[in-house]
Homo-oligomer: 220 residues x 2
Amino acid sequence: MGVLGGTGPAGTALAARLASVGYDVIIGSRSAERAEEKAADIRKAWPALSLALRGGTNDDAAACDIIVVATPWDSAATTAREHGKALKGKVVISMANALVRVGHEFQPLVPPRGSVAAHVQAAVPGCRVVAAFHHLPAKELGNLSDSVESDVLICSDDSDALEVVSQMVRLIPGCRPLDSGELSNATAIEAFTAVLLQLNVRYKTRVAPHLNGIKGDPRA
Amino acid sequence: MGVLGGTGPAGTALAARLASVGYDVIIGSRSAERAEEKAADIRKAWPALSLALRGGTNDDAAACDIIVVATPWDSAATTAREHGKALKGKVVISMANALVRVGHEFQPLVPPRGSVAAHVQAAVPGCRVVAAFHHLPAKELGNLSDSVESDVLICSDDSDALEVVSQMVRLIPGCRPLDSGELSNATAIEAFTAVLLQLNVRYKTRVAPHLNGIKGDPRA
């Protein structure tokens, strides 16, 4: 799988974690060198793990079978459109949140089409966008020596694509995928990240959501 | 405390639960008779509990020291404004979510001012709006023989008012209040209810949120 704009904290952490559970991952970037540096840093940080993780261009990442858009939120749709031909028919994971800092708090913005994920879907109508991974704290996600205790809310208009990403989440120790319905729910899922960041600041921690009332993983 | 428009499922459940932890509660309604019927139903359902719970008009409810606005979301600001004089300076709890059914899913709307809570605050600038109780499943909340395992996300522009409601939440067995910052976060908290309803349908359950990573109740 490939991570477009994968050199930021969230993209790097997800790339590392997915490589650790067996995925062949290309961290993509406008600069292939910077991407390979990041990949090498991760490989060096976990010498005991055999990580199939390397850097490349965004073109290299877009050529993979599953693509994560990990750019800043305001580049997500543009970057997806630039690689629209390569993304056609593929599962494209949108993980960005449109947030703005107001004073000491973060507040959600309403991006075009109501969510970053819906904007990416509109930019590349032929791909199968899945919104996921918005709420995982990057530091915990990238710490491959420990599990990440979190539910992962996943939504998509394509139920097969949603299942592909659910399977991916199931492989991450501590994570539980939850089918959160159609892509329209990405609006609320993305916006909720602002609340989580607020709680992180308030309680000097990094929170992760869990939904009480769902036993185990009902789809496993 | 008083519950404006308190004869619906959420308002009734909250009134019952708060009466069970020691609050003196008036269920308010446009029809005092209907409100008293609801109150009598609750008292009859829990004969072993000594519930200080009665019905009254919305005027009666608005005259209390703490007021919950439990009308349907599209009446919340209007009802608050009608009782604006009585609400001035008081803690006013907004618990409604602006949702619309689209096919088999619920989707969040953007109400005037971005959230129901902010709309209520704008309708009665002199009151102290606190957004809370959006995510508690009404059935579990109203079942006084059991605890409600849930975090309660609370936000307000008035930190003293936020603390009043946090104290209220602390009294409910199983509930943990979380300071979720300023009232602007009500947008995301209200919208997130659509995701919870979606999960309820998908997994045939009633979910309640819990945030991993916060130990106990840091404000207690």
